[in-house]
Symmetry: C2
Subunit: 320 residues, 2 copies
């Protein structure tokens, strides 16, 4: 939860003069969001979101992200749409940081997702994948196998401080995933971070997806694997197969999955678990004094990783 950059009323007014969306009626920092500074911006024309991109987002990637949101919104996906300034640009500078205004999305994200929300999630994920197929720009997944190696190298020496034996376990896991990682699954634009706080609902009706700032081109089924981890475990890290089945079935109704994709799911889910485990491990070991965000426990994702590693096949996800 964070607002890293304070925007003065004067700077805001000057910034809004480049847009055709009216004057600020209210302006409040939003506590949610770890990577960027987000503001709720109400103008006399309605609600918007103003985002200042902080250092964890590479400025050169922003055209990919903003272009994607616009592309998906044009194809009918409920997601924030970047607002164009009077000069046609969507990306400009505020308080020395790249900044953009996007449309406001209604809905509330689920702190404890219910099974009834997992079907709509799978449906929306598949629709996003289909809508993204003709998005012309390309961005590699910096947090896939090669990225994991680099991340692990930064934490390896101290990994056993978190759990004894973690260093060896992760080294072996990384080795096996690198060897067995697939090469020929269907690719496209993936969200890559579709956790419950990035999905808005109006009760059980999904009202939109947000936060495309990890989006990239990768195996579409990897996105499903991220969601298996993010949506289908209970708070005690037990796996809820009903949620998984509802999610995957709804996904497959919109976009059919090949046998190879389904077979790869346990391995992809291990990879997805490792990816979040490694970033959490890094944040855990490198806590900044006075940071406004409490790092998330890396152990949760170690347990998820072990769960997927122990599976015999995708049947454990309720796939029939």
């Amino acid at each position: 939860m964070a607002v890293y950059t304070a925007v003065s009323d004067q700077k805001l007014a000057a910034f809004l003069a480049d847009y055709d969306i009216g004057r600020a009626v209210s302006f409040k920092g939003i506590a949610e969001g770890v990577e960027n500074s987000n503001y709720f911006l109400l103008t006399d024309q309605g609600p918007h979101i103003l985002t200042l991109y902080e250092k964890r987002v590479a400025p050169e990637d922003l055209p990919y992200f903003l272009g994607l949101m616009e592309h998906l919104a044009r194809r009918g996906l409920a997601c924030p749409t970047p607002i164009h300034g009077r000069d046609g640009e969507v990306l400009r500078t505020l308080c020395g940081r790249p900044a953009a205004i996007t449309s406001f999305l209604s809905g509330v994200w689920p702190l404890r997702p219910t099974p009834a929300q997992c079907g709509p999630l799978g449906d929306a994920l598949a629709k996003m994948h289909v809508a993204g197929l003709d998005y012309p720009a390309r961005r590699e997944n910096a947090l896939s196998v090669d990225g994991w190696r680099a991340l692990f190298a930064q934490s390896e020496a101290r990994a056993d401080e978190v759990v004894p034996g973690l260093r060896a376990e992760l080294a072996a896991e990384l080795e096996e995933l690198a060897t067995r990682w697939p090469h020929d699954l269907p690719e496209g634009v993936i969200h890559a971070d579709l956790f419950p706080d990035n999905v808005f609902f109006d009760e059980d009706k999904l009202s939109g997806l947000i936060d495309f700032y990890f989006a990239c081109n990768d195996f579409l089924a990897y996105d499903l694997a991220v969601c298996l981890n993010a949506w289908c475990f209970e708070p005690d890290v037990s796996f809820n197969v009903t949620k998984a089945r509802l999610m995957i079935n709804a996904y497959r109704k919109v976009r059919s999955c090949s046998e190879a994709e389904l077979d790869a799911l346990p391995l992809l889910a291990r990879g997805a678990a490792l990816r979040f485990l490694l970033t959490r491990l890094y944040d855990w070991l490198n806590q900044v004094d006075g940071a406004m965000v409490k790092p998330k426990d890396p152990m949760e994702y170690l347990k998820k990783l072990r769960f997927h590693r122990g599976l015999e096949g995708p049947g454990a996800y309720g796939i029939t």
Copy 2:
């Protein structure tokens, strides 16, 4: 900046069922605010603020605060109005904490107040004082002279860690203020914390006052003294007499001040500076690991205190 308590969508829906304000359309934690958890709550009937009162607010004081806001709003002051539930109550419980919903106030708070905003501030402060005169409840100012002694006692031993000599300087200051503190100035309900982030503007037009959770009964002129400190110093802690003159003149147009009140202002301003210096000093010396709020520098208020101490009379505030 903080949201201390996460409210699930299910708990929110159950909470809203006790009100007649519709269903949640959007719900976002607000980054501003140090004492409580504030949420922007948009329902199909419009925007509201949901506040969960955290441990720094005494639950037994909440009826005073909420009653005051309702009293002031009824008398035409622009401030949040508590929303009554179907049972008539304004204060209830959410996630184990006292909680209330209030009306939403438009406007943006000024990061760097301009002189043009100081007149409207003085005007609104005086109107609040007049509107509060017949508020029947009473709450002592826990952060007046006796409270300062208790606060100082908690930091005294370590004060010199912040600035060498601070302990002796504050002890002498406290002694002098206790001896010379007035007893017979006009009293009423004061805001007691009217910093710029608690005052909303639509450009230079003041649109409302918020955050009445330090309000209490004390000398009305003490509130002016708090505002002298909070509004009339520049970022380099130089005093801007133009801002002070505009603020005090606008105040006096609505509520006339006695000679005794004006004469007491430098002493009251020293007291007000000491009050914020002591709370900041305490927070500075007792920083919590992993806290989401960075403590404010106590030195700023030491400089302000010294400024007021060096004055010969209220003329330095532009009073003629």
